[in-house]
């Protein structure tokens, strides 16, 4: 594996393999080798994997702890929609160098809704990093993840590392097609508070949402985060979504507070909101990026007749 990792980055090209692993030993060996190869090549290395996996990796990375950036993916990637911005920011912090990243966005226990958005993220990595010198290795625990997740990993990764072999993935699919497949119908809530809004009514709808959110189990800080996310989403409806929209609010079975914003918008750029914008940027994407940062899960459905965002915030 070491040989494969050190030889796989032609300058300026992007490499995006899925790593199929079955045991912790196999995992530590592959990821550890990847990190050491990065350091040997003098390239910046980020490892964003679930906290339990980080602990398993620590002994193998003991000699390189201060040179490898370690991040708990269950925190960074709590909402799959914000992972890509973090990965791009890491690469941006090392201009002119080929970032080597381990990103494990799907682990056992992820909900179906999270897995869909994480799959969308995996597909969009290919668009975001196309023509960029970088390697992003995505480990998949094939013993505990559903077969459908493994099948999707074959569609979102051009190559697969499996049991020491680096093979092209015949199932690899264009990111746009994968994203379209992720736009599955959303389940209808049992009941919801419905608020409609148009120009001149942003404050009014926000105040109504605030009053509703105040009665939930969210802490005041998380209430504020959700209201800010709702504020940006409803403003987007006015600016980009046809000038009006519908906000629905409900509490899900897992106690998550859900706000759904539906309008006539079209997601022209599927990467919108997936890289850090400048505060003063006006070309869209700023609101979506903020929404991804503020929420625990953002479900996106881009349909011909409009755009739906479901924002989840858990207590």
């Amino acid at each position: 594996m070491t040989d494969t990792a050190s030889s796989l980055v032609p300058v300026g090209s992007f490499v995006h393999p899925a790593l199929f692993y079955r045991t912790t030993e196999e995992y530590v060996d592959a990821v550890g080798s990847f990190a050491h190869a990065a350091l040997a090549a003098g390239e910046p290395c980020l490892i964003a994997v679930p906290g339990t996996q980080l602990e398993a990796l620590r002994p193998a990375l003991a000699d390189a702890a201060d040179q490898v950036e370690l991040v708990d993916m269950t925190v960074l990637g709590r909402n799959p929609g914000r992972i890509l911005a973090a990965l791009q920011s890491f690469a941006d912090r090392h201009p002119g160098r080929a970032a080597r990243i381990v990103g494990e966005p799907i682990w056992a226990g992820r909900t179906h809704a999270e897995i869909l958005e994480a799959t969308r993220h995996e597909a969009l990595i290919n668009s975001a990093f196309a023509h960029r010198g970088a390697t992003i290795l995505c480990p998949y625990d094939v013993t505990s993840l559903p077969e459908s997740v493994v099948a999707d990993a074959r569609r979102t990764h051009p190559t697969i590392w499996d049991q020491g072999e680096d093979l092209a993935s015949p199932a690899y699919t264009d990111p746009a097609a994968v994203c379209a497949d992720c736009d599955l119908p959303l389940p209808e809530p049992a009941g919801a508070t419905v608020l409609v809004y148009a120009a001149g009514q942003l404050a009014q709808v926000r105040h109504q949402a605030e009053a509703w959110v105040r009665a939930t189990a969210l802490t005041p800080a998380r209430q504020g985060d959700l209201i800010l996310a709702i504020g940006e989403a409803t403003a987007n409806s006015l600016a980009h979504g046809g000038g009006s929209g519908t906000l629905r609010l409900w509490t899900a079975e897992n106690a998550a507070v859900v706000a759904e914003i539906r309008d006539g918008g079209h997601l022209h750029d599927p990467l919108a909101g997936r890289s850090r914008p400048h505060l003063a940027s006006t070309h869209g994407g700023r609101g979506l990026w903020m929404i991804h940062q503020l929420c625990d899960l953002v479900e996106i459905r881009a349909a011909a007749d409009g755009l739906t965002l479901r924002l989840h915030v858990t207590p």
Partner: protein
């Protein structure tokens, strides 16, 4: 009717005052003007009336008919009626710096002649026409408090028609008066209570007392983006090394609003001045946290 939120300290008193009156039609305006002129004459003030849409002779005739003292006051020069076109709109563009200097001079002259002060009553409908400089009306209204009323006995009374106060730039300018709200006018009264009514929509600016700057009331979101930009442009023209923006009555500032504030802070910093935000709502703090580089120079204090 007060615009101040209950429980807040009363602003320090000024020698002068600045009022806004709105009217539905000519008859209502005439009644208000008569009462305002009568009051000024009774107080021993020099009274200057600026007519905008009606001939000065007609206004003078009306005042003679309606106000017992008016005829004699016109004779002895205590009362005069001018047209805006011959008065402060003779030299365009409308320039708050010149207006303020002129108002100060006129008041000092009136006081030196023995009058108790200067009362200026002005019809403001010119601001809805394409008058060059009309976009600086808000700046003028906001600056009067600190630059004229603090140390001079000027009573400034701005007359806005209901037609005018529903339109830019008069809507923001009419709402920028600390006193004198007309309950009949929604553009003004929506901010008047400071409490539940401001939940409706929009953003208004008031002069800040004490200090040099503005107090904002309402929400800073996409619906009020133009208003926020206009208010901050006016605020940057206040001649002060520190421009304070009091946000205690602002419940929400979105990312674009934060960007406008950060941009304003940068403009002032470029002039060696500072923008200081007071009582920022949680949303503004959260946006600043998410954009630390862009908001590095945004000063926030309690």
């Amino acid at each position: 009717m007060t615009r101040r939120t209950q429980g807040q300290p009363q602003p320090p008193s000024r020698l002068g005052e600045h009022l806004c009156r709105t009217y539905a039609d000519d008859q209502e305006r005439a009644q208000q003007v008569s009462a305002l002129v009568r009051d000024g004459l009774a107080r021993g003030q020099r009274v200057l009336y600026y007519a905008d849409t009606q001939p000065t002779e007609r206004v003078a005739d009306q005042l003679r008919a309606e106000v017992a003292e008016a005829g004699a006051a016109l004779e002895r020069g205590q009362l005069s009626v001018e047209s805006t076109a011959d008065g402060f709109l003779r030299r365009l563009p409308f320039d708050p710096d010149l207006m303020i200097a002129r108002l100060r001079d006129s008041c000092q002259e009136a006081v030196s002649q023995g009058w108790a002060g200067l009362r200026v009553i002005g019809e403001m409908d010119w601001s809805t026409r394409q008058v060059p400089g009309a976009d600086r009306l808000l700046e003028y209204e906001l600056r009067l408090d600190a630059e004229v009323l603090e140390d001079l006995p000027v009573t400034g009374i701005c007359l806005y028609s209901h037609h005018a106060v529903t339109r830019a730039p008069a809507a923001l300018a009419a709402a920028a008066h600390l006193d004198g709200a007309d309950p009949a006018d929604s553009a003004v009264t929506r901010y008047a209570a400071g409490g539940t009514q401001r939940a409706r929509a929009g953003l208004a600016a008031l002069p800040l007392r004490p200090g040099s700057g503005v107090r904002l009331v309402g929400s800073a979101d996409l619906d009020s983006r133009t208003a926020l930009a206009a208010v901050l442009t006016a605020a940057t023209r206040m001649p002060a090394s520190v421009v304070d923006v009091d946000l205690r009555d602002v419940d929400y500032v979105d990312a674009a609003g934060t960007a406008v504030l950060a941009d304003t802070a940068a403009v002032l910093a470029g002039q060696g001045r500072r923008l200081v935000l007071h009582h920022a709502p949680p949303s503004l703090g959260r946006v600043a946290e998410m954009f630390p580089d862009e908001c590095r120079d945004l000063e926030m204090t309690a």
